[in-house]
């Protein structure tokens, strides 16, 4: 199953690109409209790209009235990414989405403002869980001192799955002036540099929670996608690669099937978690028991536990 990464595709300006995905994830929607950050907002470095878009979005009211209906018309299931600054905001956003045909909700938890990310994750996911019966995916930053603890906290609070990873903080200077290239100075680093980071995050969170995971971070090829699946992902999302290759979904899907076949897997998902199995064939370590609700809701959106 191949999704786009939140914020890396506008299905309304490029519907033919969006239709190549098994599900389409929206850019993060916040309670109020946000213009985003002042330019410059993007810069390429030798190892990835930086962005400081700043969660530009029309706000939940306009999103529900104008955007979501048109997205739903496109065909693929729509996952709505939501973000806020407090648990109550997330709860409110989820409540507003409850009566829509959104297939799932991704909680963008990647910019926590507090010192105890576990507590923050618990509060937000629990509030969102109380507000919706839809499948809930917690999207986490990999830049946490104890990522699996946060993933476990999200699972315990009722997340049905995880989306890993969001960008990490980076900065680039103009080589001539030595001033930051982005208007905000630092921004989010995505692309190739994230690849090993994403693999580590998926690997450790799969082991810790057993939850279905949407893996992302620097995926450019079917081989990259297969590695995330081997580490524990049930689905893979494409972000930065879409900017260079808007047709990447179809290409990666085909490459992924070939890479899996070549290694003797009946289909790509048969490779899920094999990175945890001993080479001599012993099964992977203790598999965490996933709650029935999470199991059921994940299955709704086609993700197996």
């Amino acid at each position: 199953m191949i999704l786009n990464a939140s914020g890396c595709l506008d299905a309304l300006t490029a519907p033919e690109v969006a239709r190549e995905f098994d599900a389409f994830v929206t850019k993060t929607v916040t309670p109020l409209q946000r213009e985003g950050n002042a330019p410059v907002r993007i810069a390429e470095t030798d190892v990835g790209m930086l962005n400081s878009i700043g969660l530009a979005n029309p706000g939940i009211d306009t999103f529900l009235a104008d955007v979501l209906p048109r997205l739903l018309d496109l065909g693929p299931p729509v996952w709505v990414s939501v973000g806020g600054f407090a648990a109550a905001e997330y709860a409110d956003l989820c409540a507003r989405l409850e009566r829509t045909d959104a297939a799932a909700i991704e909680l963008n938890l990647s910019c926590p403002n507090v010192a105890a990310p576990e507590d923050e994750a618990t509060a937000i996911v629990a509030a969102a869980r109380a507000a919706t019966g839809k499948p809930l995916f917690a999207k986490l930053s990999p830049a946490l001192p104890d990522l699996p603890a946060v993933a476990l906290a999200a699972a315990a609070a009722g997340a049905d799955g995880l989306a890993l990873v969001n960008t990490i903080r980076g900065l680039a200077l103009d080589p001539a002036t030595l001033r930051p290239r982005l208007g905000t100075a630092a921004g989010g680093l995505s692309g190739p540099a994230l690849r090993p980071v994403a693999l580590a995050a998926v690997h450790t969170c799969f082991r810790a929670t057993g939850l279905p995971i949407v893996g992302m971070g620097g995926v450019e090829t079917g081989a990259h996608a297969l590695e995330l699946i081997a580490a524990g992902a049930s689905a893979v999302a494409l972000g930065t690669v879409l900017f260079a290759d808007p047709g990447a979904a179809a290409r990666v899907r085909e490459e992924l099937a070939g890479e899996a076949r070549q290694r003797g897997f009946a289909d790509p998902l048969a490779a899920r978690g094999v990175a945890h199995a001993d080479l001599d064939g012993a099964p992977p370590g203790p598999v965490v028991r996933v709650a029935d609700g999470a199991r059921k809701r994940s299955a709704q959106v086609g993700l197996k536990v």
Binding site: E35, P39, A43, I53, P192, F243, D245
Partner: protein, 248 residues
């Protein structure tokens, strides 16, 4: 929507610039002022380039090697391949009655194709040096000024201006020729509305230049990165856009 892999036919120096000619394949040249995303070998992101020339079976781009991406494009050799997506964005309206092309530096890039489509109207081109001015040879009917003279010093009234160049030039042109069509620039990661990276501030709101531009004929309150607010002609879509400050 996948980029086409086009092969390089030629890549020749034009002053400090390079004229990169690609076999066109199935791609349309589009309207002058539209752009293509070209992925330089070894780089993560593609780079926006205005179509410069559209000879039969080819697409020609004039590239100013100012950074890693454009340098990699100027280093391409015949037979190499490059991924190209386009045409993208909104080009120039081709209905002006008394067209005058006004451009500066690498801003002349879209003019050869534009001039051809408009029947070789007069052009007024400004360059930093005589070496840069070699690019003027690609534009028929061109009058060239060199710094310290600016195109705005030589701009006669009564024309329908179509302009492309560094931001300060566009800003000055829009003051003198309020109905001008202006082709702006902003850093772009995708070119098709996906990344919101090319957003520029217009009337206190952010708009994506790749979707609503790059050519705008506007009269709106436009704020540039430096915070200078100015009034330019109202565009067909009722908005105006500013490209990022700094200039090169």
């Amino acid at each position: 929507m996948s980029p086409a892999r086009l092969s390089v036919v030629g890549n020749e120096a034009v002053g400090p610039y390079a004229l990169l000619r690609l076999r066109r394949g199935a791609l349309e040249p589009g309207v002058p002022g539209q752009f293509f995303m070209l992925r330089p070998p070894g780089r993560l992101l593609p780079r926006p380039m205005s179509l410069c020339l559209a000879p039969v079976g080819e697409l020609g781009f004039l590239v100013d090697p100012i950074g890693p991406g454009t340098r990699a494009l100027t280093a391409l050799e015949p037979g190499d391949e490059v991924d190209v997506l386009g045409p993208l964005g909104n080009g120039f309206r081709l209905d002006p009655e008394r067209p005058l092309l006004v451009g500066g530096g690498i801003g002349v890039a879209p003019f050869p194709y534009l001039s051809e489509r408009l029947g070789c109207p007069p052009a007024l081109l400004g360059f930093r040096t005589a070496d840069h001015a070699e690019a003027a040879a690609l534009v028929p009917n061109a009058e060239v000024v060199l710094e310290p003279t600016l195109v705005t010093d030589a701009l006669a009234p009564g024309f329908d201006v179509l302009a492309c160049g560094p931001e300060p030039m566009l800003t000055a042109v829009s003051r003198l020729a309020p109905g001008a069509q202006l082709a702006w620039e902003a850093p772009m990661a995708c070119g098709f509305g996906a990344c919101y990276g090319c957003a520029v501030e217009v009337d206190g709101r952010m708009a994506r230049l790749c979707v609503e531009g790059p050519v705008i004929s506007a009269r709106a309150e436009m704020t540039t990165e430096g915070g200078v607010a100015l009034s330019v002609a109202a565009c067909s879509s009722g908005r105006a856009l500013a490209r990022r400050g700094g200039g090169r």
